[in-house]
């Protein structure tokens, strides 16, 4: 099995504040790994480091066996993401926005790709509407469709279903999993929806105050924490940070 992501001893400091503290983890091909933790735990900083929006203070990030710092453009062309803080341009139509992002990700047959995405994500009725005219849930759907413009092998999903109703969220979850598994890829997923996390994750990484405090399958985590559901684990970690495993 191929290692898609390898994060080694990555630290991010802003002055005296340590946002991420010596984080190390790996994601293998086909794995769906969730990053959980209370607000300010360092989840978004990790995702932003993987997207090269933030540079690590120390440590090393490798994707597909190549150092992210040295192969930025090549690696980003094989990845994609969606996040609620990063909207698509409100003044473009859905079709235009997907076309622009297909070009920015270097998709050769971008017209065909956009048509396929509009079909796959059932966006036909929204295609000619401006992004800014859509509801937040519809914008989230477009954001997820945008994350597939380049058929990524590594997908970063930061609260991808936050604004979606449960029916659409379920449909999209299934579609995301199908498309990523078909591409032989992997996903790093964050969400505050514990049920969703439990459903989709092969592994869960818990963060607290920038440190990884647990990294295991949902079942093993419940057993080791002696809790019946992930929410209780989340709350206990949020209240009282667990000592970093040696």
């Amino acid at each position: 099995m191929t290692t898609i992501l390898r994060v080694r001893e990555v630290t991010k400091q802003y002055g005296n504040l340590t946002a991420v503290d010596r984080a190390s983890f790996e994601i293998e091909e086909g794995e769906i790994v969730s990053l959980l933790g209370p607000n300010g735990a360092g989840k978004t900083t990790i995702i932003q480091m993987l997207l090269t929006l933030v540079s690590p203070t120390s440590g090393d990030i490798q994707i597909f066996g190549k150092t992210l710092k040295d192969h930025r453009e090549e690696l980003l062309s094989m990845m994609n993401f969606t996040a609620p803080y990063s909207l698509l341009p409100y003044n473009l139509t859905v079709k235009e926005a997907l076309t622009v992002f297909s070009l920015l990700y270097g998709v050769q047959h971008y017209r065909e790709r956009v048509s396929l995405l509009i079909y796959e994500f059932d966006l036909g009725q929204l295609a000619d509407k401006k992004v800014g005219q859509l509801s937040s849930g519809e914008q989230m759907r477009i954001g997820i469709a945008k994350a597939f413009v380049n058929s990524p092998r590594f997908l970063l999903l930061d609260e991808p279903t936050a604004s979606l109703d449960p029916i659409i969220a379920r449909v999209l979850r299934a579609k995301i999993l199908k498309l990523v598994r078909k591409a032989g890829g992997a996903i790093l997923w964050t969400s505050h929806n514990m049920r969703e996390i439990e459903q989709v994750s092969d592994r869960i990484i818990f963060l607290s105050r920038g440190q990884i405090v647990a990294d295991d399958s949902p079942e093993n985590l419940k057993n080791s924490f002696g809790q019946e559901d992930l929410e209780e684990i989340f709350i206990s970690i949020g209240k009282e940070p667990v000592n970093r495993p040696s």
């Binding site: 802003y14 978004t44 900083t45 932003q48 997207l51 090269t52 929006l53 933030v54 540079s55 930025r72 453009e73 090549e74 980003l76 062309s77 993401f81 996040a83 803080y85 990063s86 909207l87 698509l88 341009p89 409100y90 003044n91 473009l92 235009e96 076309t99 622009v100 992002f101 297909s102 070009l103 920015l104 990700y105 270097g106 998709v107 050769q108 971008y110 945008k146």
Partner: protein, 266 residues
């Protein structure tokens, strides 16, 4: 260099401009209104000036106005192409995409070239019809002069973007203000000789000074001042390099200090 990336940046801006009435007005409207303003001032001044200086005066002032407008437009279209991404909170998507900084800059350059050429080929016939100003009298000298105007606009565009990246979206006002800071020192509407001697030396580092001084010599004396053209070009090439380095440095700083995510939060 991936030209699909460059085309993506260009295409995104073309869509915005072609269907936005305010953007079309910013492209064609302002310059038309300003042409009327400067044209009327010129017509009035020529009635009170010596009769043998009439033609030169129209040529001097209106040519200077048109080329200064092209310079401003080049800078503004470059900067606004980036600011559009900030205003629409799309900037994170751009910086998290595989687009290289050079491709981003080239995309903005193309947007600037197209907008400036459109405005130039729109305003010069109007200036000819209204004020009998034939800017093409400058001959082939117009091409390197126009190129230098465009290039220094891009340089200031890179500086403006770098400042927005460093100081956040509230610094966007700088994108519209920077050319104005250079206007008094660029000898656009008067010769360099009116400056105090110290200022004449200081302003030597401004390509705009050499461009507009050279243009004035070409119009009044009918000779191409090669030294002005060469200095403007050399300075521009140096500033393009420095402007790109500045933008690169600001982006690196933003990645280190986490300023990029602030661009969608302010």
């Amino acid at each position: 260099m991936n030209f699909l990336h460059v085309f993506g940046i260009f295409y995104r801006n073309v869509i915005l401009i072609r269907r936005s009435v305010p953007k079309l007005f910013a492209l064609f409207g302002f310059i038309t209104v300003e042409l009327f303003l400067w044209g009327f001032i010129t017509l009035w001044v020529q009635t009170i000036g010596p009769s043998d200086a009439k033609l030169d005066f129209i040529l001097l002032i209106l040519s200077a106005f048109i080329f200064w407008s092209m310079f401003e437009l080049s800078q503004r279209s470059f900067s606004v192409s980036f600011l559009e991404e900030v205003w629409s909170r799309n900037v994170i998507n751009i910086f998290a995409s595989p687009v290289k900084l050079g491709e981003l800059v080239l995309g903005f350059v193309l947007v600037g070239v197209v907008q400036t050429l459109l405005a130039f080929f729109y305003i010069t016939p109007i200036a000819f019809l209204l004020y009998a100003l034939n800017i093409w009298n400058m001959g082939l000298y117009i091409i390197p002069f126009f190129m230098n105007v465009l290039i220094f606009g891009w340089v200031l565009g890179m500086v403006a973007i770098g400042l927005v990246v460093r100081f956040g979206p509230s610094a966007d006002i700088l994108a519209f203000f920077i050319p104005f800071l250079l206007l008094p020192f660029s000898a656009v509407y008067y010769p360099v000789s009116v400056f105090p001697s110290l200022l004449q030396k200081i302003t030597f580092i401004l390509p705009t000074r050499h461009m507009f001084e050279g243009m004035r010599i070409a119009i009044t004396e009918g000779v191409i001042p090669l030294d002005s053209l060469v200095w403007a070009t050399i300075l521009n090439l140096i500033y393009v390099f420095l402007g790109f380095l500045f933008l690169h440095w600001m982006l690196r700083l933003a990645r280190t200090r986490g300023y990029l995510s602030r661009l969608v939060q302010d």
